[in-house]
Each structure stands twice: as structure tokens, then as C-alpha cells.
Amino acid sequence: MEDALIIQDLHVRVEGKPVLRGVDLTVRKGEIHALMGPNGSGKTTLAYVLMGHPAYSVDQGEVLWKGQNILELPPDERAHLGLFLAFQYPVAVPGVTVANFLRAALNERRKRLNPEDKGIPIPEFRKLLREKLALLGLEDSFAARYVNDGFSGGEKKRLEILQMAVLQPEMAILDETDSGLDIDGVRTVAEGINRIFNPNMGILLITHYQRILNYIKPHFVHVMYNGRVVASGGPDLALELEEKGYEWLREQFVEQPTS
């Protein structure tokens, strides 16, 4: 299917240890899916595998997007297919300014679409950047700072969404974009995400908290437990989890043999 990210029976090991044990999940364009689950259940691993992190080896399963299995593609090619990951722990790139980085990323994409492209004109890029900075409540001077170098937790998360705003992906995985943000920050960033979201885009929103779901209304909520999606439902499921925690899942799933 052209308009969905389809994860089928995905098994992944990290340093020899199985972390994902058969994940099934489908996110269509125009949909927002929340993915919740206890620490260590494999959410970030899933996000990394979707984006092509080299440290994770896939044992089994497929990830289909735009009609192809993307698991063999390097991260840059996945990005050019419209995939985007907002990192739970964004990486510092010392000496590289936010502006230079974004311009390089944007130009690279333009070049892949059209090998003749000469890159975005500087004035046009400045205008675009200023507009997106404002969207996330960031000062213009933010663009001159080195990527994530010495950033506060909140600044890092804002930069992730700033990148998403500039790159306009079709499928975005947002890994705990709300953690590290203060109360106003969550609102600003959530509003930014809502503004970016459109019917031609899907979002997989990984979070621990109901708080962000007050601003970003998911169509579906899933629970990951011990490397598998063990429960799926509507927005009510998040409220239920907030109330009950994950203990009840342990009782239900811990004894099951892993196939």
C-alpha cells in the first residue's frame, strides 16, 4: 500500500540480545498513532530500526513504505522517501551550525529530486528558517548555534521539530519529543506539530505521558511491552494506562513464551 508504513513481524537484536520480538503495526497517512509502553520495552529500538541505525540487526520481518521493503536502505535514502525521526536523545554535532546543517539537508534533498538543482537561494532559505523558528518560539540567533551542542533538553526537542518543519516528511516518528520540555514547551511544540501535520503525513508519536496527548489527538494508541505491540485502541487507552500503569500488562504477558 502506497499510503502506509507497514511493520510486519519485526524481530531485532541488539548486541546479540533480542529486543523486538515480532512487532506488527500500520500507520497510514493522515493518522496519528501514539506508542506507549514501559522503559526498555523497545520503543526507541523500533524508531531506530525504522530509520536505519547501523547498530541494530533485523532477524526477521519487513517494513514496507511506498511499496518497498525499506530495511535494506541506508538512512539517507529513507529520509528521501519521506521518513523522519525526531530523536529521543538528539546528537550534538560540534562546529556545525543549525543553519548550515538544515541548508545542507534541504539542498541534498533538492538535488536528489533534481540532479541539476543548484540549491535553495540563500534569501529564500533565510526566510523559510525564520518562519519555522518563529513557529517553535525560537530566536533567530538559535540558527547560528552548533547543532545540539550545549543545548538544554528543551532546546534539543525544539530543534528536532524545527528540522521536521523544514524537511516536511510524510511519515514522522517522534520519540519522546515531549520529555525534557517544560509545560509551556510541551504546548508550543505540540502546536508546532499540529501545524505541520497534514492529511499527506502520518505520525508515530512515542510518549510516556498523557499530557502531550491533550494537545495532539491520536487516532490510535498502542502499547509496547517486552518487544511487542500487545494492545491497541483509541485515545481512551492512553487514559487507562495513565490510571493503571503497566502492571496489569505484566500479569498478562510476562509468562507467554516468546515465539
Partner: protein, 447 residues
Amino acid sequence: MTGAHLVQETRGIGPESFEAFLGTREEPEWLRQARQEAWQILRETPKPGPEDEAWRRTDIRALSIEDLATVIVGDGLTSPEGMLQIVERQDDLAGGLLLFDSQPALRWVDEQLGRRGLIFTDLLTAVREHRDQVAPYLGHVVQPADGFFAAMNAAFWRNGVFLYVPRDLEIQFPLRAVIGLQKVPTDFSRILIVVEPGADVTFIDERLADDGIGAAFHTGIVEICLKENARLTYIALQNWGRYMWNFTHERASVDRDSTLDWVVVGMGAGVTKTFLEVDLVGHGATAYMSGVFFFDGQQHADYDTEQDHIAPHTKSDLLYKVALKDRARSVWQGMIRAHPGAQKTDAYQANRNLILSPHARADSIPGLEIMANDLRCTHGATVGQINQEELFYLMSRGLSRAAATRLIVEGFFAPVLDRIPVPDIRRQADAIIHRKLGILAEGDFSS
């Protein structure tokens, strides 16, 4: 280059060669004498070998001193347009100088500044016309006894650059010199900079030869004398051909309340051994030493630095960044020396190496010698590879592996390149870095 040829060749550093060399020079007696003394020292100094501590990591056994062309003159050579363009008269320069195959090919200095006493010319002309500003300094900051190649240069130097900035003259735009080689396969260059009290100047020193020059040889001396309350920004861009031997002795003497900002960009040459030293001789003197180095192929570069705190309340800060590709090798040996009585010394040195290929190698050897007790000295040395998390992060935004690597390497150098106040040099350095990165080979650490 029709009609261009090389004449009068004498090889080696023996007595006949030196006599022949002196015979080609029309120079004042004081300089002849200085050359003779230097040559005596050279005769008594063996060519350095692996048994010398400073030369343990740089093997020059393949360099035959007997075969070096010590007397050589190019006839009818014309300077390449590209070199002339760099230093021709332009609004954002205060002066320009091109020494091409040891001959002054272009020389100018802003008229107004010239009237106020600024001297910027080739060293031979300066010896003839400005004896009083040259003789007291030449050979005093770097002495023939400093080493084999210092003595060799002092005996055989052919020409060089002289910059003299008179008292209290503050110069807004840089002075720029290019020392270029194309046909003459050996060069003995010498730079002398004297900055009088209260003066402020930026000087760009560019060394250019393309790879086509082959196995050429250069030995250079740089002497800097910075008097009280003065300021010098000295930017050296070494872009020799990749098969050249390159040996230099460079030293700055920094006096009371003066600031030296010394940026070295090293990209060229086949084998380099360089001694770079600052002597902080006056109370309140400050020296910043910054370096950007990128070597590839079989290039070998060995940098020996010294931060000598001789007077109290002096500050030095060294940051050398090195990227290595292919089978390139670098050595940095740094010494901070706080002499007796140099209280309140504030000294820092850091050497960061980025290894881009499995067969590239960096040696980083910091050192402290402390003979005073009330001071602060810190150092750090690292050797690392491209961080895989950074690479993944950048690639996840659509940058190819090559583009991501390039951005990381640029970022690695940026804090030092940002210290270069001349945009054109910055652009040149960026261009060389880009070219050197090229396509990283299969098996390099970014893959």
C-alpha cells in the same frame, strides 16, 4: 614558458658549494659574516636522524643533502597568473608581495602607510635599504644553533619577506605574501616580522606549489619580534606540493602586554618537520597558537611546539586540530615551559586528531616543564574517529554518507577556522578541505 631555464647549479652544502653560493650574492659584509658563521655551525651539526629525540618519529634518511641544489637560479621564469592575483593591489589589502622561485615578482604597499613608515618588501631589498631595521633582528630570534635546518637556512637563504610596522601604527587591512615555487626545486625562505610598540597588524603568509613540482625541498625560518603593547595576527597557509620536503624553524618573541594570534593552516608537503615556538618574554604577554591540519595520501607532518613562559603573568593557549586520511601520519609534540620566576603563568594546550581511514595515524605528545610554582597549566590530547551516532543523525536527515562526513569534518575544524579574520583564507582552507575529503574510500571509518 619558452626560454625559461635553470642556471648555475651547485649541489650540497660542502665548502665549494658554499663558496659558489657566496659568489652569486652581492651582500653587505655583516650578512656575509652571518652566513659564514651559520655555515660553520652547519658543518659541525650532523643531519638529524632517528637517534635525535625531536626526530624520532620523522624519518628523513631518504633525503640526500649532497644532492640538494643549493645554488640555483631560474632565468626567464614568469609567475603564474593565479599567484599574482592573490597579492595584486586590492582595496582590502594593505600590501602584497609575491616571491616566485625566490624572485620578487610583485611588491606593493599602501602609499599612505608607506609614508608612515610601514615596510613590506622582500628580504634582500630590505637588507640593502633598511639595514637598521633588519640587522638587529635577523638571526636573533631563530639562531643557526637551533638545529641543522636552521643553520642550513641561515647559511643559504635566498630571499624572503620583511615586514616592519613602526610604533603605534594600527593597520586595518592585512598584508599578504605568497611564496610560490614552480620550477626551482629547492627553496630557502626567510620571514622577518618586527612590530614596534603599540602597533597592530595582520599578516598572511602563503606557501604555494602544486604537486607537479615533484620531490622539491624547502627549508624556512620565521622570526617574529613583537614589542610592547603590540598586536600581530599571523596566518600561515602551507600548501606546498605533496611530494615536497618541508623543514622550518619558527619563533616569536612576545614582549610586555602584547598579543600574538598565530594561526597555522597546514595542508601540503610530503614530509614536514616544523618547530613553532613562542617566547613570552614580557609581563602580560599573550600568545594564541591555532592550527588546522589535513593530510591525506602518504603525507607525513611533524609539529613541534613550545610555549615558553619566561616572564610572569603571561598567557598561552594552543589548539591544534588534525584530520588524517588514507595513509597520512601526523605527530604533534607540545611543550609548555614555565621558567623560574614565571609566576601566574596561564598555559593551555590541546591537540585533537580525527582519523578518517584505518591506516592513518596520529601521535600526540603533550608535555609540561614547570619551574615556577604559582600557575595554571592544562593540556589535553585526543585521537578519535568519526562518531557513528553523529553520522547516523546527519544521514537520517537525508545527507549522504559523504556529505555527512564532510559536515562533521568541517565542524571539527570550525572553532579554529573561525579564528581566521580573513574570509578569503577561510574560503581557501574550506576548499582544500573539500578537495581532500573527496570521496572517502571503501573501508574508511565513516562507512
